[in-house]
Symmetry: C2
Subunit: 340 residues, 2 copies
């Protein structure tokens, strides 16, 4: 009933202490679950806390402990499905672990934009950072210096690179997609890749190429897009302009696949009869595209959870030996691919 976030005059430790007839330090001990508090005292304090609806003042605690119990997320401003999902799961996990989450969006991937975002979050004293975007033109150490020692976990990082990160094995995902097409008899397989300054995009691109070569096939034409439907649309037109016949396209995300399918139809071709398409992400809408899109699903919930857990470990002991956690993808079979 009286559950208020901030009452007129906030209830402090001392108020609780007075009410419970103990010192404020004892209350602090109870609140922070220290040992050496008798059961009887603990109960009385807890009772007083409940009665007064005491809520610790984070600012004071932060000042005293040098910890804010806040995590920061840096994410790309444009509402792509992947980053949005990651934010969501990062937040949920963080909250479950007792952390709050603040975030800053960047509108481009320059080091200076990221720097501004970092500064902002840093000013607000986050204990750790999750970086959901890639950064253009930053040497490995540069970013760490910018963070000023605040633990940082990256999500879009190079597989095997020596920075703390949780990544989805994009090579494996792209291989899944490409091999799936190969297995269905496709020989001329083109590609629309994402912006190559995203590690994930580059990995998907490379793996598409390698998988094809490994199967003894010549990689088809490829064009880059910017993750958007428009980008995919334009890329597909560009690709089809080359007049190299392809029977299938691997496309780096579902939005671009949507645009590409539209472009394909505009050329008088059918999906999947003339050109098969595999996307990436499995956005909720993919099942309702025309035709429903066969695509690669990424495990975003696990990604969010693991990056937070890793980050919290890093906060607790910054010297934690670096490692990279890797997650895998699965192929979702729908109707945008046909057998040759």
């Amino acid at each position: 009933m009286t559950m208020s976030i901030s009452d007129f005059r906030r209830v402090t430790l001392d108020d609780v202490a007075r009410a419970a007839g103990v010192s404020s330090q004892t209350v602090s001990r109870v609140v922070n679950e220290h040992p050496y508090v008798s059961e009887r005292t603990r109960r009385r304090v807890l009772e007083a806390i409940r009665k007064l609806d005491y809520r610790p003042n984070r600012a004071a605690r932060s000042l005293a402990t040098q910890q804010s119990h806040m995590l920061g997320i840096i994410t790309y401003g444009f509402p792509f499905y992947g980053p949005a999902q990651m934010m969501r799961y990062v937040e949920q996990t963080a909250r479950a672990r007792g952390y709050g989450v603040s975030f800053a969006t960047v509108n481009d991937l320059s080091l200076s934009e990221i720097g501004k975002a970092l500064q902002n979050l840093g000013d607000h004293a986050v204990d750790g950072l999750v970086l959901i975007t890639p950064v253009i033109g930053a040497t490995p150490g540069e970013l760490e210096r910018l963070c000023g020692g605040i633990p940082l976990v990256r999500i879009d990082a190079e597989l095997g690179s020596p920075v703390p990160s949780v990544v989805i094995d994009q090579r494996q995902g792209s291989r899944l997609a490409t091999q799936y097409l190969i297995d269905r008899g496709h020989q001329r397989i083109g590609e629309i890749h994402g912006p190559l300054n995203w590690f994930g995009a580059r990995a998907r691109h490379d793996s598409w190429n390698e998988t094809l070569l490994a199967a003894g096939l010549t990689p088809g034409p490829f064009v880059g897009g910017d993750w958007t439907a428009r980008g995919g649309y334009e890329a597909a037109h560009q690709l089809l302009d080359q007049r190299i016949s392809v029977t299938a396209l691997v496309i780096a995300n579902d939005q671009m696949a949507l645009g590409a399918m539209r472009a394909i139809r505009e050329r008088g071709l059918r999906v999947p009869e003339d050109v098969s398409v595999v996307g990436f992400d499995d956005i909720p809408e993919a099942a309702y595209f025309d035709p429903p899109l066969t695509t690669i699903r990424q495990n975003f919930p696990a990604l969010g959870e693991q990056s937070v857990d890793y980050l919290i470990t890093l906060i607790a002991s910054p010297e934690t030996f670096f490692h990279q956690r890797v997650l895998y993808t699965e192929l979702i079979e729908r109707q945008s691919v046909c057998t040759r």
Copy 2:
């Protein structure tokens, strides 16, 4: 080998004061742009700040001023386009105004979930809140009480309701869509609405109905969806099962429109020749649907900006007389509607 910067990056006001040969209070004055600091002193202090790379400690400042300079966002966990956009623009505006932003997602719209989110944000001492979701079963005052006096601005609120809010005039949007169809000779216009516990969804629904009546037409069949493509798909099938012929459908968001178009095609009908469709939101993908979707665009940037500005006003003077800011929509004409 990498220096642990966190230890030595602890520059305080006093350090700056010593370096500049003034008292810490003078430095504080410079930082907070108080009057009564001589130009010469200000310059010296600024120089020292720059040299030492001083950054104010937010926790200490919060403790002293009782203000956190943090805004909180409560948003729905599922990544709908509208809420995501709002978050984005709220964050950008807040940051431009010197505020940080933290957020909490809720997985359902119950008062208790919202309460938990509020609690979490409140523990982290936000100065104000932007509520992007509606709340089920809360009386007007209930939420305010939960916030315990923290200023709150809502985004999904009833037009004309006496709560601080910035809203898009959904009635106007829905009227735009419906009238557009009427003007093109449609007589049997059905509807797929959103969850009616969202004020916006209800407003769109009511307005669809009223616009039709005002034009002397009988409202066609309507079914509810859950904002998702799947929801739209199922709703459309349900609607078409009724075997009441419709020539057009007003659909409460673009994702549902996507699903609905798929369902329409599955019945052997064409969009727009047999059934015209108007969506709502203008998501970036809408232009690449098949056919490209005629839809209602909402001004999310303005929504984000205005809600933050309103909130900041409210923080500065909580007694600010309530008002509601209203924004309007525009119709984006594409190819999912044809003239009868």
